[in-house]
């Protein structure tokens, strides 16, 4: 459905070029939930923002191709891109407090994209908006669609964002850390909602997060990002049972588990992520890797271990 090939995103700055994304490739199937996991600086947010060309062209340089419905999104003109955004591909952002316009009623904000893209009448748009609000679980939707964002809590606002995203029945929903700012009990409700939507509408989802717990419960496939590269790409079972990349392993081992208390110290990954301006010429994880050999001075390529499991490491499959 969506195919990203060798995407690079670089930001020229007075201090040097920030190499935020360095050659990532992945594909998204129909009705599939793909999770992109990474920490801050891994390039996960920049990666998807550039899919929809949401970063101003004067700030960054983008290379590669993003193929969707037969077209390369990176080569489309601005009007063509606007056609797509909100319509065929929708996005939900992290902070529900600021992503809704505080001076517009929420009903209007949901209707906005539908009217814009499908040119239907206001009356029909209104009933569609109410329908959507009910779908995402806003109580008393018929009354509340006239309310303003500040009259809703964070969890509700995020649901409204999702409703707005769904208005035009997109094929793909991209969610950038949508539950990070929410409480755990509300987060569970939102995740449940997304799963329900996938079942009922058949939407594909790209979900970005740093929380491996969410990934375990939600995703079909996972891409682990580090320093602007995808270091491991696998099904969710493969990643958690047999992680191949030292970073994935390190991450999984360092997590304190709710279901098991251990007296031993956590298996922390020592060190810090590399500087994206002076990008290392070796494998980016080299400094922190406990499996390093001399071979690792050369940046590794993505290798397939099975048809569904790829790793970017010289020791792929041998650990």
């Amino acid at each position: 459905m969506l195919e990203v090939e060798d995407l690079h995103v670089h930001f020229p700055t007075p201090d040097g070029v920030v190499q935020a994304v360095n050659g990532i490739s992945y594909s998204l199937g129909k009705k599939e939930i793909l999770a992109i996991v990474g920490e801050s600086g891994s390039g996960k947010s920049v990666g998807v923002l550039s899919l929809l060309r949401l970063i101003p062209a004067r700030d960054c340089k983008v290379q590669g191709s993003v193929n969707f419905e037969g077209k390369n999104l990176l080569k489309l003109s601005d009007p063509e891109m606007r056609e797509l955004r909100g319509n065929r591909i929708a996005m939900v952002f992290q902070d529900p407090m600021t992503s809704l316009n505080p001076v517009l009623r929420i009903g209007d904000q949901i209707q906005e994209s539908v009217i814009e893209h499908q040119g239907i009448s206001e009356k029909i748009a209104k009933s569609r908006a109410i329908e959507l609000l009910e779908l995402v679980g806003i109580p008393e939707a018929g009354k509340r669609y006239r309310h303003y964002p500040h009259q809703f809590s964070g969890g509700m606002r995020q649901r409204i964002m999702i409703a707005a995203g769904l208005a035009c029945e997109p094929s793909i929903l991209i969610a950038d850390e949508p539950t990070t700012a929410l409480d755990v009990t509300i987060q569970a409700q939102i995740i449940d909602l997304v799963k329900k939507l996938r079942r009922e509408i058949g939407m594909s989802v790209i979900w970005i997060t740093h929380d491996l717990g969410i990934v375990a419960g939600l995703a079909d496939r996972v891409a682990v990002m580090y320093a602007g590269k995808i270091v491991e790409f696998a099904t969710v079972d493969q990643l958690f049972k047999t992680p191949q990349h030292p970073y994935s392993r390190g991450l999984l081992n360092s997590l304190p588990r709710l279901d098991a208390r251990s007296e031993k110290p956590l298996d922390a990954i020592e060190g810090l992520p590399p500087n994206l301006i002076n990008y290392p010429a070796s494998c980016p994880f080299l400094e922190r890797c406990s499996y390093q050999t001399e071979h690792c001075q050369i940046p590794p390529e993505m290798r397939s271990i099975t048809t569904t499991h790829e790793v970017c490491c010289h020791h792929a499959g041998k650990l």
């Binding site: 569970a188 449940d192 375990a216 419960g217 991450l251 360092s254 997590l255 709710l258 956590l266 922390a268």
Partner: protein
Amino acid sequence: MTEPIVKVKNLSMHFGQASGFFSGPQRLVKAVDNVNLEVFEGETLGLVGESGCGKSTLGRSILQLYKPTTGTVQYRGTDLVKLEGKALRKMRNRFQMIYQDPYASLNPRMKIADIIGEPMYIHQLHPRSEIRSEVEKILEMVGLARDFADRYPHEFSGGQRQRIGIARALAAQPDFIVADEPISALDVSIQAQIINLMRNLQQQLKLTYLFIAHDLAVVRHISDRMAVMYLGKVIELTDSNTIYEDPLHPYTQSLLAAIPIPDPEKEREREANRVLLEGEVPSPENPPKGCAFCTRCPRRNEVLGNKKIDCSTKAPLFAEAKPGHWTACHLYT
């Protein structure tokens, strides 16, 4: 039975005015409502809850960073609430706080040496000439290089700044530390480093921690006992293993059910049985009468039926339901 190093009794922290000069009807926020808590020497007491439950406020009220509205906080027998001004300041080095935001809690215009040296200077813990070498010792203890002392906060990453914050707290030579969400602002791979550091320091320096966080997995890992808060009240308190294995309060049960576990198989199992908590946390300005949790409690009708108690009008007492296991729920009275 060890004596508690800190004893909190009937602590309440109210914000806003009941009816002031310019304000209208009651706009009182009971951020912390009548909390009773004891922290024993050498232990780590975890304090968990979602946003708005009052855990941060409780931590700050205990340290007198907010002056509690009512109640007492006994530190080794001295009631801190009664202390003011110089008397309070003199004692401050014995209890310290580690802050959540590593970017805001360090003065951007001070060198690291001065930031860490300040508590030593204020409390005259070392002769002036030795402060610099003591600062360097502490830097090493928290895993930073000695020459970092001459740099400024903006030169460091979040994780490093948090270490500096820890160093500053240690410089005061406290025996009780309140950690207010010390790792929430950090990346996952750095969180583990800081947790390990805190544990090591606790053993080395015989510290007592009150560890406040919203991530139950982390709190469970580091704490001996855990307290769960909801809307300003402590609703469950017991040791860490028991909280997970035998949660009594319906809120604790829902909270545990909602937390994702990094294991796909387990998640699939849980999904089949999971009962999701409905609704939202009520506003702290307008808490429900009776039990704070009654608006969302899945077992409310059970209590009504079996015990003929209406949770929405009668507030449950915080009592010992099983040995060493305290909770505030009508199901267990």
